[in-house]
C-alpha cells in the first residue's frame, strides 16, 4: 500500500542548461502510476528537454528524476540504458524505424535488444495496432500513420511501465492522429502504463487525464481534466 502513495515519477528541482540557454528551470512534478499526462507549451519551452531528462537520454544540470523509486542520477550510463530498455517506451515525431527492416522486424529488433526476439508476439503486437495486413512491409511502404503505429507497437512491445511520446501525431492529419491516439488510449486502458505525452496541440493534449503547461522552462499550469481511467481487461 505504501507503493500507492509514493509517486511513480518524481521530478525534483530539475534544471537543464545548454550553455547560456536555460531550457528547464527548477521543475517539480509528481506523476502517479498509470496516469496519462499531456505536456503542452510553445516551441522552445523545454518540452523535449523535459522528456529527454525523464528518459535518461540526457543528464540534468541540477535536480533529480526518480522513476519507480530509482534515482536516475545514481545510475551510470550503462545502467540507465538498461533501465530504459526495461521500463521505458519511446515514441517520437519522427518514427525512427529502421528503413531496411519490415514492420515485424522493427518490432523484433526491440525485443532482441531487450531479451530475445519472438516473431509471433511481434506480429500479435502489430495486429493490436491494426497493422495485421502490413506485417511484412518496409517503413517506406507504409503511410505516416501506419509508421507511427509501428513505432507504438515497438515502444510497447517490452511492456514498459512508462511511455514517453514526443509529438507522436505531429506529422499526421487529424484523421490519422485520431487513429493513433485511439490506439494509445486502448492500450493504456489494457496495460495501465504511465504516459507522458508532449504536444503543442490542445486537441491532442485533451486526450490525457492531466495537462501540464510549460513556458520558458517553467511549469505554469497543472490541471486534471479527466477522471483517472480504470484498467480494462485485454479483449484479444
Amino acid at each position: 500500500m505504501r507503493k500507492e502513495k509514493s509517486p511513480f515519477l518524481e521530478i525534483v528541482n530539475l534544471s537543464k542548461f545548454f550553455g547560456e540557454t536555460k531550457a528547464l528551470k527548477k521543475v517539480n512534478l509528481q506523476v502517479k502510476k498509470g496516469e496519462w499526462v499531456s505536456v503542452m507549451g510553445p516551441s522552445g519551452s523545454g518540452k523535449t528537454t523535459l522528456l529527454s531528462l525523464i528518459g535518461g537520454l540526457i543528464r540534468p544540470t541540477e535536480g533529480k528524476v526518480k522513476i519507480d523509486r530509482t534515482d536516475l542520477n545514481s545510475l551510470n550510463n550503462n545502467e540507465i540504458a538498461h533501465f530504459r530498455r526495461e521500463k521505458i517506451g519511446l515514441i517520437f515525431q519522427q518514427h525512427h524505424l529502421v528503413p531496411y527492416l519490415t514492420a515485424t522486424e522493427n518490432v523484433m529488433l526491440a525485443q532482441f535488444l531487450h531479451s530475445l526476439p519472438d516473431q509471433a508476439e511481434a506480429e500479435e503486437a502489430l495486429k493490436r495496432v491494426g497493422l495485421g495486413h502490413r506485417l511484412h512491409h518496409l517503413p517506406s511502404q507504409l503511410s505516416g500513420g501506419e509508421q507511427q503505429r509501428v513505432g507504438i507497437a515497438r515502444a510497447l512491445i517490452n511492456s514498459p511501465a512508462l511511455l514517453l511520446a514526443d509529438e507522436p501525431t505531429g506529422n499526421l492529419d487529424r484523421e490519422n492522429a485520431k487513429i493513433v491516439l485511439e490506439i494509445i488510449k486502448r492500450l493504456h486502458l489494457e496495460d495501465m502504463f504511465t504516459i507522458i505525452l508532449v504536444t503543442h496541440d490542445p486537441w491532442v493534449a485533451q486526450w490525457g487525464e492531466r495537462i501540464i503547461r510549460l513556458e520558458d522552462g517553467r511549469i505554469i499550469g497543472d490541471k486534471v481534466v479527466k477522471e483517472r481511467s480504470s484498467p480494462k481487461r485485454r479483449t484479444s
Binding site: L116, E121, S159
Partner: protein
C-alpha cells in the same frame, strides 16, 4: 624430488576439481542430500587412497585389479548415465535418480561409496596397462616429504578453487549431461582410453574366434582369410585407432549434447502473461544454456589436447634385425641374460643345413623370461621378423594382432610358439635350437 611434489599436486588438484564441480552442481540444483553423501563419498575416496598408499594393501595385485576394473566400469557407467539423463526436459533434471533414491539412505551411501571408488585411482594410484600399477609414492622410491609438500600445495590450491567455484556459482554452468561429460574429459587427462578395454575385448574375441575356427577345422591355410582381412580386424585394436575411436566417440557425445541443448524448447511458463516477462526468463535460460554449452566445448578442448598429446606420444614399432645364434655341436644355444634384460624383444636367426628359423627372447614385465619361435600356429612368417614390439605388446606383422608381453611364452592362438628353456646360474638361458626346427616346420607346413 620435485617429481614427487608434482605428482601429488597433480592428483590432488584433479580430485579437487572433480569433487568440487559435482558438489556445487548438486547444491545448485537443490539436491542437498545427494551433495552431502557425495561429499562423504569423496572423503572416503581420499582416506581410502591414503590407506592404500601407506599400507601393504596398495601393493596387492588383486586390489589394484579391483580398483582398475571398478574405475573402468564407473567410467562406462557415467557415459551411460549421461545418455540416460538426456530425456529430461528441464535442464537440471537428474532423471529418475532423485525419485529412486528418495529416502533410501542405503542407496545414497552405496552411491557415495561408488563415487569414492571412482576417485581412488586418481588420488592414490597410477594404474598402467595389465594392472602393472605402481603406488606412486612407494614404488618410485620418492621421499614422503616432497609428496606431502605436493599434497599441501594441492590442498591449498583446492581450497582456493572451492572459494572461486562458490563465488562464480560454478554449478549453474552445467546440465547433468554436460557435467558428466566434463568429468569424463577431466578423467581423460589421466587416461584417454576410456572405452578402449571394452572395444579391445570385443575385437579380440572376434579375432580369436576366427582363429579358433581355423585351428579347429584344421584348415591348411588362410585360403579365404587373406592378409587384407586380418589387417581389417587388427585395425580395430591398433593403438592409435583405438585412441581415435575413443575420442570420436566422446566427441560425438559432446556434439550430441550441444545439439540437444540448442534444440531444447523453452518452457511454457504458465502464469506469465506479459510477453516481455516471458522473453526475459527465456533469455536468462538461453544465457545459462550458452554457459552450459561452453562447459561442453571446454571439455572437448581438453579432450583434443589430451588426444593430441597421446597421439604424439604413441609408441613406434620396434623391429630389431635378427642376430645370428651361436649353437654348440649338440644343437644347444646359450644366451646371456645381459643381452635380453632391457625389456625389448631380441630376435635370433639360426641356420642349419638348408633350413632357417628364428627365435624371440624377451624379458617379461614380471621379471621372468620367454623363449619362443618367431612365428605362430596360424600366420605364415614374415621377413625379416614375424613380430615387432610396440610398447608393452608384441605385434604380429601378418595379422596385426597385439600380444601383451606378459602373455608371451603361453602357447596357442596368435602367441609366438614357446620353446622349453632352462635358466642357468641366473645368468643365461639354455635351449635346444636344433630341436625347434621340427616345431617350426610343423607349424608352418602348408602356410
Amino acid at each position: 624430488m620435485l617429481e614427487a611434489t608434482k605428482i601429488t599436486l597433480n592428483v590432488t588438484l584433479e580430485a579437487f576439481l572433480l569433487t568440487l564441480i559435482v558438489f556445487f552442481y548438486l547444491k545448485e540444483i537443490g539436491k542437498k542430500e545427494l551433495s552431502h553423501f557425495f561429499a562423504i563419498g569423496s572423503l572416503f575416496g581420499f582416506i581410502g587412497g591414503f590407506v592404500l598408499n601407506f599400507s601393504s594393501l596398495g601393493e596387492r595385485a588383486d586390489i589394484k585389479f579391483l580398483i582398475n576394473k571398478g574405475h573402468l566400469i564407473l567410467s562406462g557407467g557415467f557415459i551411460l548415465l549421461a545418455l540416460l539423463s538426456l530425456p529430461g526436459r528441464e535442464p537440471h533434471v537428474v532423471i529418475g535418480l532423485e525419485k529412486i533414491l528418495k529416502g533410501k539412505k542405503v542407496w545414497l551411501i552405496f552411491l557415495s561409496f561408488l563415487w569414492g571408488l571412482m576417485l581412488l585411482p586418481l588420488e592414490s594410484l597410477h594404474l598402467g596397462q595389465d594392472i602393472e600399477a605402481i603406488v606412486f609414492l612407494k614404488e618410485r622410491n620418492l621421499p614422503y616429504f616432497f609428496s606431502f609438500l605436493g599434497l599441501a600445495l594441492g590442498l591449498a590450491l583446492g581450497s582456493g578453487l572451492f572459494y572461486f567455484f562458490r563465488m562464480v556459482r560454478i554449478g549453474r554452468f552445467f546440465t547433468f549431461p554436460s557435467l558428466l561429460f566434463l568429468i569424463i574429459a577431466i578423467k581423460a587427462l589421466w587416461e584417454p582410453m576410456i572405452v578402449t578395454s571394452i572395444e579391445v575385448i570385443v575385437a579380440r574375441i572376434l579375432h580369436d574366434f576366427v582363429h579358433w575356427i581355423i585351428v579347429f577345422l584344421l584348415l591348411p591355410d588362410h585360403v579365404y582369410l587373406t592378409k587384407f582381412f586380418w589387417n581389417l580386424i587388427a585395425f580395430f585394436f591398433q593403438k592409435n585407432t583405438s585412441l581415435i575411436m575413443n575420442l570420436t566417440f566422446i566427441f560425438s557425445l559432446g556434439i550430441f549434447f550441444l545439439v540437444y541443448l540448442q534444440r531444447q524448447p523453452f518452457p511454457e511458463l504458465k502464469g506469465v502473461n506479459r510477453g516481455a516477462e516471458r522473453r526475459k526468463i527465456w533469455a536468462e535460460i538461453r544465457k545459462t544454456r550458452h554457459w552450459q554449452m561452453l562447459s561442453i566445448l571446454a571439455a572437448c578442448l581438453i579432450l583434443l589436447l589430451v588426444g593430441y598429446n597421446a597421439y604424439e606420444k604413441g609408441e613406434g614399432l620396434y623391429q630389431p634385425t635378427p642376430q645370428p645364434l651361436s649353437v654348440d655341436s649338440q644343437g644347444f644355444s646359450e644366451v646371456p641374460l645381459s643381452e635380453v634384460s632391457s625389456g625389448l624383444m631380441n630376435v635370433y636367426s639360426f641356420n642349419y643345413e638348408d633350413k632357417s628359423i628364428r627365435f624371440i627372447i624377451i624379458k617379461k614385465p614380471d621379471g621372468s623370461f620367454a623363449v619362443t619361435l618367431d612365428c605362430c600356429l596360424i600366420c605364415p612368417p614374415t621377413n625379416p621378423t614375424s613380430y615387432a614390439q610396440m610398447g608393452k605388446d608384441l605385434f604380429c606383422l601378418y595379422c596385426g594382432t597385439p600380444i601383451p608381453i606378459s602373455t608371451v611364452g603361453k602357447p596357442g592362438g596368435c602367441n609366438p610358439i614357446p620353446i622349453p628353456f632352462q635358466l642357468i646360474d641366473d645368468s643365461k638361458l639354455r635351449f635346444n635350437a636344433r630341436q625347434a626346427i621340427g616345431t617350426w616346420e610343423r607349424a608352418n607346413k602348408g602356410k
